[in-house]
């Protein structure tokens, strides 16, 4: 069935709550009639009751921390951190608590919590509502980081996330919510750590994630018209990272461009460039190019925001430069 990412997430929450009564949803406005600002939790309170779909006060530390504590003691909470920017408010509970229980308690703990959060620029809402931040999260041992780029993956990965016994941060790009594609009916799980080869190609590898996977696909379509065969890899999960799919593609093409909406330093793009240099050095025919946002906050200004985020034109240029090397 064709549906948007928004609908796919909503449907998955319905399915998983129906399947397992230990699954609860909590967050700000999640039990409101419209299901939050983007309607993601629409219909859940009517179906499952407000004891399982819980409107919380505006207290991100307590929301995320309590979700972690509930997970530690037997529930399977899906907490909503409305915008990933609010990570600033609740980072201790993620960084020092949830992520570390398993290890520091010597394997006693199980923390099956999912933190759903909205990432990315594109709505003109400025520095505190537009960040990406997933490299920051992916850098933390003990949590998994998921970044779907289409509705089918959103369903498959969210189902897996909810059933996973480890903490998972599920990043939803706000500019992709309405993007539609075919989504498998019924139960659908996708394994973590398996990238998706979105486009097959032989001249160059373009790696993207979340929205930049979509941008990479669009760039590949343009490049195809110019006779360039680009392979596009959508990482789908950042931690665990599917290194072999990247390296195998690189072995085939010998050229790599990584597109990542994060700020450049310590970005996913840097991580993948590092991987290519360390483990794919012999297969590289040209330097790796990283297309990222700049080392600046996200401006509220629409014309500057458009300049800020990676776009198709920048990817096409980077590919052409890499091919010309």
């Amino acid at each position: 069935m064709k549906m948007s990412i928004r609908e796919a997430i909503n449907q998955t929450l319905h399915q998983e709550m129906a399947r397992d009564e230990r699954v609860i949803v909590l967050g700000e406005d999640v039990a409101s009639d419209q299901g939050g600002v983007y309607g993601i939790t629409e219909g859940l309170p009517a179906k499952f009751g407000v004891h399982r779909v819980i409107d919380t006060p505006i207290t991100e530390s307590a929301i995320v921390g309590a979700a972690g504590g509930a997970a530690l003691t037997g529930l399977r909470p899906v907490a909503e951190l409305m915008f990933v920017d609010f990570l600033g408010v609740c980072l201790d509970q993620i960084l020092n608590q949830i992520a570390k229980f398993r290890y520091m308690f010597g394997g006693q703990a199980r923390t099956p919590v999912v933190i759903r959060t909205m990432i990315g620029a594109g709505t003109g809402t400025g520095p505190q509502h537009s960040q990406i931040l997933y490299p920051l999260l992916a850098a933390i041992p003990g949590i998994k980081v998921v970044t779907p780029a289409n509705a089918a993956d959103a369903k498959g990965l969210l189902t897996t996330a909810i059933r996973d016994d480890d903490p998972v941060i599920f990043c939803e790009h706000k500019a992709l919510y309405m993007d539609e594609c075919e989504v498998p009916e019924g139960e659908y799980l996708l394994p973590f750590g398996q990238a998706r080869t979105a486009v097959q190609g032989s001249d160059i590898t373009i790696v993207g994630m979340s929205r930049t996977a979509v941008i990479a696909e669009q760039a590949a379509a343009q490049l195809a018209q110019k006779g360039v065969s680009a392979e596009v890899i959508d990482l789908r999960t950042l931690s665990p990272l599917d290194e072999s799919t990247i390296l195998e593609s690189l072995a085939k093409t010998g050229r790599l461009v990584v597109v990542d909406e994060s700020n450049p330093y310590c970005s996913m793009a840097s991580e993948i460039a590092g991987l290519a240099v360390e483990q794919g050095f012999d297969t590289l025919d040209a330097p790796v190019k990283r297309i990222t946002s700049p080392h600046t906050p996200v401006p509220a200004t629409p014309c500057l925001e458009a300049e800020y985020v990676p776009n198709v034109a920048r990817v096409v240029t980077a590919v052409e430069e890499t091919l010309a090397y």
């Binding site: 700000e28 505006i58 003109g124 400025g126 505190q128 401006p299 629409p302």
Partner: protein
């Protein structure tokens, strides 16, 4: 308490400016002429204006996502604000902040804030500056009823008491946070603040005179070294959470009634203490406001967008590294 006519005029002018400014903004926004998200302050004007009326540019406020009224009350220029809200090069923040991050350091306006609960620790810091320098300045944080639950607010309340800071916690209890009605009865917020060990009172936030009275006391207490104060201003959020939210979740009869009884401007004008304001002076003020707003929009729409190189300015004051 008698309010001098000069102050009455200023109070009326500021409340009315906020009202007209935002009504005009709404209509421009609805036509797609302004970017981002905007949160309208209508019916809460008496809070900001009473709060800032006895402040100078040396006093500080930390605002919220619903900050246009706070800006105007603190003395920000209409034209510079509009340029910012339209994200133009000459805006207060060079167009980089927009509605949710508008700030004017020259006026002691330490920023709107898109992080709920982000402001109070900053205001506490400004109060610490004032206390350390001993300059008699005060600092105020505006805090929504929803924000009142945030851990940063509790921590700031405690810090302000521990350090005896010249700070005012100005709660605006409009009884809604986004689409969710406040589960707390009126007064609970002040009670909670009071429990930290500071004077705290509940005031009718649409009664300018009651608000002004409470604010004068709080400001005087702060200036004289008496420490922090909390005020819970009970008011009404006239429009939706953000512009474009039709408030379908609200009881429409109740909303209509609240809107009518809690409009601070007619209440102000009907108060015998405002009798010194003549009909002529009101008409004069009204006309001046409208022409200032018209001029502001004219200038704004003729103004330039920032050039692409501006993306890379002001990340740091000085930086040895590469930005792109």
């Amino acid at each position: 308490m008698d309010v001098p006519t000069r102050k009455l005029k200023t109070a009326y002018r500021l409340m009315k400016t906020i009202r007209e400014f935002e009504e005009r903004m709404r209509s421009e926004y609805q036509q797609g002429k302004l970017p981002g998200f905007i949160h309208i302050y209508r019916n809460q004007e008496a809070v900001a204006v009473a709060a800032c009326l006895d402040m100078t540019n040396e006093d500080y406020i930390a605002s919220t996502h619903r900050g246009h009224g706070h800006c105007i009350a603190k003395g920000c220029e209409i034209e510079a604000m509009l340029l910012e809200l339209a994200c133009k090069e000459d805006g207060l923040c060079n167009g980089k902040g927009g509605s949710m991050h508008i700030a004017d350091m020259s006026k002691g306006m330490l920023g709107a804030n898109a992080i709920v609960g982000g402001g109070p620790p900053i205001a506490a810091g400004a109060a610490l500056t004032a206390k350390t320098l001993g300059n008699g300045a005060v600092s105020m944080a505006f805090i929504g009823d929803g924000a009142s639950d945030q851990g940063t607010v509790a921590e700031s309340l405690n810090l302000a008491v521990v350090l005896q800071l010249p700070m005012i916690f100005m709660y605006e209890n409009n009884r809604y946070a986004e689409f969710t009605k406040s589960p707390k009865p009126d007064g609970r917020i002040a009670e909670r603040a009071g429990a930290f060990g500071m004077p705290a009172e509940v005031v009718d936030g649409s009664d300018f005179f009651a608000m002004y009275d409470a604010c004068q006391q709080a400001i005087t207490r702060g200036r004289e070294g008496g420490g922090p104060t909390a005020i819970e201003a009970v008011c009404n959020r006239y429009y939706g959470h953000f512009e474009g939210d039709p408030q379908a979740y609200r009881d429409q009869d109740e909303l209509a009634q609240e809107r009518a009884v809690s409009d601070p401007i007619p209440r102000f004008l009907a108060d015998p203490r405002a009798a010194a304001l003549s009909a002529e002076s009101i008409a004069e003020i009204d006309a001046a406001i409208l022409s200032e707003i018209d001029r502001g929009f004219e200038v704004t729409y003729a103004a330039a967008d920032p050039t692409p190189d501006k993306l890379y300015t002001d990340v740091y004051i000085h930086y040895e590294g590469r930005l792109r």
